[in-house]
Amino acid sequence: MRRPLLARAVIAWLTFAVASHAASSGSGQRPAAAGEIVPAAERVLEATGWREHRTRATDKNLGVDESTSAGRPSTLGPKIPDAMRADLKPMLDARVATDLGQAKALRGEAIDLLERFIDEAPASSRDMPEALVRLGELEWELAREDFTRRFQVWDKQPVDQRGPAPELDERRARALFGRVLRDYPSFDQTDLALYVDGFLAYEQGNEEEAVDRFERILHDYPTSRFTADAHMAKAESIFNASYDYSAALTEYEKVLAFKDRIDPSLYGLALFKSAWCYWRLGHNEEATKRFVGVFAATEANAGPRPVGASERRQLDELQTEALKYVVQVFSEDEKNTAHDLYLFLSKIGGQRFSGKIVRALAQQFYDQAHYERGIEAYELLLDLEPTSPEAGRWVLQIASGYDAVEDWPHVRATFERAIAQYTTGGPWSRTQADTANVAATTASIERSLRDEATSLHAKAQHDKTSIAEFSGAAAMYDTYLSKFAREPKAYQVHFDLAEIDFFRLDHNLDAATHYVAAARAIPSREGDPALATMRHDALYNALVALSRAMQSHAAIPNQSAATGAAPVSMGSGGGDSAADRNAGREAFARISDAYAEALDLYAQFYPHDPELPAMFYRQGRYDFDNGHYDAAVKIWGMLVEKFPSSAPARDAGDSILESFNRAQNYENIETWARRLKALPAFGAPKAQERLDALIVVAVFKQGEQKAQAGDHAAAAAAYLHAASEFPGDARAAQACVNAEQEAKAAGDVRMLREAAQLAMGARYAGRPESPVGAWIATTTFQAMGLFASAADVAESMTALGDRQHPNYEKFEHEKDAAYNAVVLREAMGEHARALADGAKFVATYSSAPEVDEVVFQMGRAQQDAGHPGDAAELYRRFLSRTRSVDHRLQGLVLLAQVSLKLGDEHRAENALEEAIRLGKQHGHDLDAGGKTAVAHARYMQGERVVASFDRIQIQGDVKQLKARLKQKTQLLKSAAKVFLDCVGFGVAEWTTAALYQIGRMYETFAKALRESPPPPEIHNDDQRADYQSQVEEFAVPMEERSLDAYENGWKKAIDLGIYNEWTAKMREALGRLNTEIYPPFRETGFEIRSEGPMAMPALMDVPDRPGAAP
């Protein structure tokens, strides 16, 4: 297959361009730095004529050069496959040769026989005229064959040696026909002889003789089967000889009169020629009608009988001619459009031929350079046959038409339409059964569009000044890529588009994008220098384009930069508004990212380019100097990763850190410092040391930053991380403390615990920050209600408070921690640990004022643990050393309590006596605790009297009753005295309790009297009544005293505003003793509660929701 001219041209151009560029770039020209590099030269597409490219390529792409314009093949039905045909050809040729040989032999034999008959038979023989006719026919054949042979011989000779051209010698044949016409006038086939002889005369150029023969047929044999042919021959003679179209038309009309009796080919030819005549006579409409009539006449089933292949071919040729002339006739009038033709065909009932005719018309318009009318014709075709298999090609023809008139927007629009509708997957393709045709159409569109764009690109280069053409070409490349970006040759389109963007339109970013795409897509075929050069140029120019783009945005400073010199303005960067600046920065960032990508790609393809590290570094520096730190870091990061051993890598690493430092991005400083540590460029001990220091600072700064931002959990993690990893740093201990504070704020108990453990651990226990951290931890746990954790930390603090840890020993809250440990353990019911903590506290802080409280706590712990003896011992030791009177009083009461529990009445009494003595001695100097203790002690003394009182039973030996009653009365008085004495201390609780006890003693005494069984000597009711009377004499006064005591006590409590259980008990007793005045309280429904009803939350406003239509 021949290579399209355009393709050859492109290849030639490529070769030329590659060679020329290799010459220019081979000197090591590289993108030295942004803004400094010189791009690879633009490739020139005008090595060959652009117009030729386009036209021929379009024709080829449309497939019109081989089949469509030549019409359809005449052979119908199944064909012999080409392979089989090739195999059979020698056999077929041999067979044909054999047959022809046999035919010639038979013909020679027939001629011999007929000549012998004519020579030997008498002239009057009845068969003579027929023999003459048959021999004439064979001689005619022989003459034609001989002429053909002689012509071939003549034709093979050199022109200058040929001599006159051989002529057809039909004299022998004509002589035989002439003899028949002359000698046998009554021969029944004279009309045949006349017709053949006339035909031969016509072939010999003897038209007069020919006309004479045909006229004789018409005159002498009006019903001959050759009448129509004779009219036809006559008409042709007139038509060709005299150009008397009117006369010829008359004869043609006579032929046409035999419509149903003659062959379709004759009828069709007559009709065709009649149309010609009308055309020449200026009757275009009738001419067109007849030309169209030829279509009907030459249709496959038009005639009265089936036609053979040869005749069919003739009919097809006639139809083709008719079509040609229909179009010609119609297009003569420049006002006629395809639509007019369609209307005309509709009018004459020829719509079914409209497609065929409009196709031809469209082609005719194009051939006549009437592109607008051709486009309209193709558009009409698309309307008439939207699902035609050829529809895609028609669209391409339309594009070609627009191309011809250089209407680039329409070219692009047409290709967009072709892509959208006539490629695989489009609406047209879904109507097609022939997938191969769809694929071929798609391929045609792809090829045409590519060629179209390339051609326009070449033209633009040729014209040099037309930006519109470059823009048009770029637009078409874009259109191409919108659909065919994955085509194998798309890289070429990317490249060419990039060239336009870069060299012609100043679209640097777009250019870079397409250069990079091209570089990625260029096939990596080994040993193809053209492609290698193209890739190199693509990447090279991409970098240059991006450099230029960056320069145009460099004037926008990066506001995220914390410090740094103001960037130098290097171009127009947009407006002054904040939005403009933001947009500018974003644009720069995008360009910078693209640059990094391109450079990365460059490095992938040309990793050994010694200039690469420097290129990376310079670009990073450029970004950095313009305040675009993110971009700088990205590209430097690539440098460090790709060329870790290079000298620029070290500078890049330092610059990265500097960049993050300016941006105060400590997280990245840490990350990068760690990465840099592993690089050979930073392998020197000093460099490692410096990086370590940087990491520490960064980690600490992260904590500060996150804390300031309110991200306490992250801050805690950062501080903890710093403290864990860098224990040797001076700030590490403080980091623990900070971690605790941040964990507290974050509510992260686990982190708090971890930080506290770290702070108190071996690494930091000697640091002054350690106890601070521990104290924060224990108080925080305490505030969280996590007493166990709080106590653990407090105990740990206490354990650390030794000489080995002077910072703990001297810590201001060390004692508080020890104290808290006791309280917390006791609160949790961990008595043993509370006692241990207490003992340690007392031993460590023996002179501290808190010791007394600790001892009390320990005493309680001992009691709660079921060790009253130990508690008593503890209190005794306490009393021996405490100097506070108030505390001594409290200790004495506690000692009395445990002594009573131990059954040691004596010790209890002594303790209480001592308490009363001290209380009375120090009277007004006592604090509330001391006063309460004294009152309590006095009350306990009263209770002890009451206990003695209760132990004396009234019932028993009557003889001793009086003594018992006396004793009981004595005790009652004593108790009342003690309780009244207790009231004198003015402590509310014990006052009301004492008053109640007084009343209760009288009440129980009266009750006991009444309930005591009568003595045995009482036998009758009188005695019993007398006894009861005597008892009442004692009991009633007792009860009255009881009532008085309760009433006075209750009133006093109410007066004093003392509302406690004793007040309630007194009121309850009053209800018992005097229901009339003090009715008992029987109501229910009010209980002490821990959780009562809260006020309901506030009402909500009407929601702010869009209202629906009412």
Partner: protein, 393 residues
């Protein structure tokens, strides 16, 4: 305990008066999830606005009607349903309130106000388990909603789930170390568990954290009560009431202490203060009636009538209130000397009261006595005794 934080956290509870103002219902500590709602029916929102205005003007009955209209017009207007629930709760219709708030909660499951209001109403109905379950689900979905979690702590404690209550209170404290409310709640949980020492330490921490925190003083008072120190408890309750005049729980507890001590005048004052804040608090009304009855005597018979009126209102509003039924029966039987009128009350009490209610035997005794005092034709006999004397004041 040493080393307490010097920081004073002022707990701002969003317990503004139900009718005192309106807001949008945005949770204070948890961002509401904005759900796309259908456009509100303008007619419904108009009714809702009128309802809110009526509530602000104290016309709660009219507000109820208007808000019912609003939710009928627009079933998706959960804000109106919430408002209706709040007003019904404030009017004492706790069952109706729970129903509306439950539906509002279903429509707006992320709103803290709704969740808390529902839990509050359930608590008032004694449904602490249900309250805990509901508010617990909200807290699980909104872990940072500490106000709701604090309410959850109380509900858990009241429903007997002490350990979980402690765990949740600790969870609040982890998020808000030293929060006096949470410390107090944790204290009460430990107290409920019998761990008085831990409770005492926590209560002290709560008071130290915020001496003006009513809940801290209330917890301390309860601890004092548990330790038998009623006077100290009363003092703490008083401090709580001073710190937060709207702390009706402390006032109620003071009322109980005063009633037990026989200080009925003072008890009446406390209950009246509660009823000023929560006009339909049934327990306060029962307490008030007791305080009034305690002041009644021959010279002050109107006190009995006042007590009767209060109790009858409670019974009218909630016919199942066994305390009001019993106390009204006692009032009729012992003080108004109209045993015939006490009989149906004791009868109803026996029908309503639980089988293990300790006052059942008293009620049966009263009922028996009342029946004996009633002639066969059903007319009550004339009282045979005069009303008794009252306490001295």
């Amino acid at each position: 305990l040493k080393g307490r934080s010097k920081t004073v956290l002022v707990l701002v509870l969003t317990v503004t008066a139900a009718c005192g103002g309106a807001r949008t219902g945005t949770p204070a500590e948890h961002p509401s999830v904005v759900t796309r709602s259908a456009p509100a029916n303008p007619a419904a929102t108009a009714k809702m606005a009128q309802g809110i205005q009526s509530a602000k003007e104290g016309k709660l009955e009219l507000a109820t009607v208007l808000l019912r209209d609003a939710v009928t017009s627009d079933g998706n207007l959960w804000q109106a349903r919430y408002d209706l629930g709040v007003i019904l709760a404030n009017r004492g219709d706790l069952a109706g309130a729970e129903d509306e708030l439950a539906r509002a909660s279903a429509a707006s499951p992320d709103n803290q106000d709704v969740a808390m209001a529902l839990a509050e109403v359930r608590g008032r109905r004694g449904e602490y388990g249900t309250a805990a379950k509901g508010i617990g689900e909200f807290v699980a979905a909104h872990p940072s909603a500490t106000a709701a979690r604090t309410l959850y702590v109380g509900a858990l404690r009241e429903s007997g789930q002490i350990d979980e209550s402690i765990a949740q209170a600790t969870e609040v404290l982890v998020r808000k170390p030293g929060d006096p409310t949470a410390l107090a709640e944790l204290s009460l949980a430990h107290l409920a568990k019998g761990e008085k020492d831990a409770a005492a330490l926590l209560a002290k921490q709560a008071v130290d954290a915020n001496p003006n925190a009513a809940v801290a003083h209330r917890a301390t008072g309860l601890l004092d009560l548990a330790n038998g120190d009623d006077a100290a408890a009363f003092a703490e309750f008083r401090k709580a009431a001073q710190a937060d005049p709207r702390d009706t729980t402390s006032r109620s507890n003071m009322g109980v202490v005063l009633l037990r001590a026989g200080a009925c005048v003072l008890a009446e004052a406390q209950y009246r203060e509660i009823l000023r804040i929560l006009p339909d608090d049934q327990e306060a009304q029962v307490g008030l009636a007791a305080a009034l009855r305690g002041q009644g005597d021959a010279q002050h018979p109107q006190k009995y009538d006042e007590a009767r009126a209060v109790l009858e209102r409670v019974v009218d509003l909630d016919p199942h209130d066994t305390s009001a039924l019993f106390n009204l029966g006692v009032l009729y039987a012992d003080f108004l000397k109209r045993p015939a009128q006490s009989a149906p009350l004791f009868k109803r009490f026996l029908e309503e009261a639980a089988s293990d209610q300790p006052l059942r035997s008293d009620a049966e005794r009263y009922l028996s006595a009342a029946n004996a005092a009633t002639i066969p034709n059903g007319h009550p006999r004339l009282p045979s005794t005069q009303p008794g004397a009252t306490e001295q004041k």
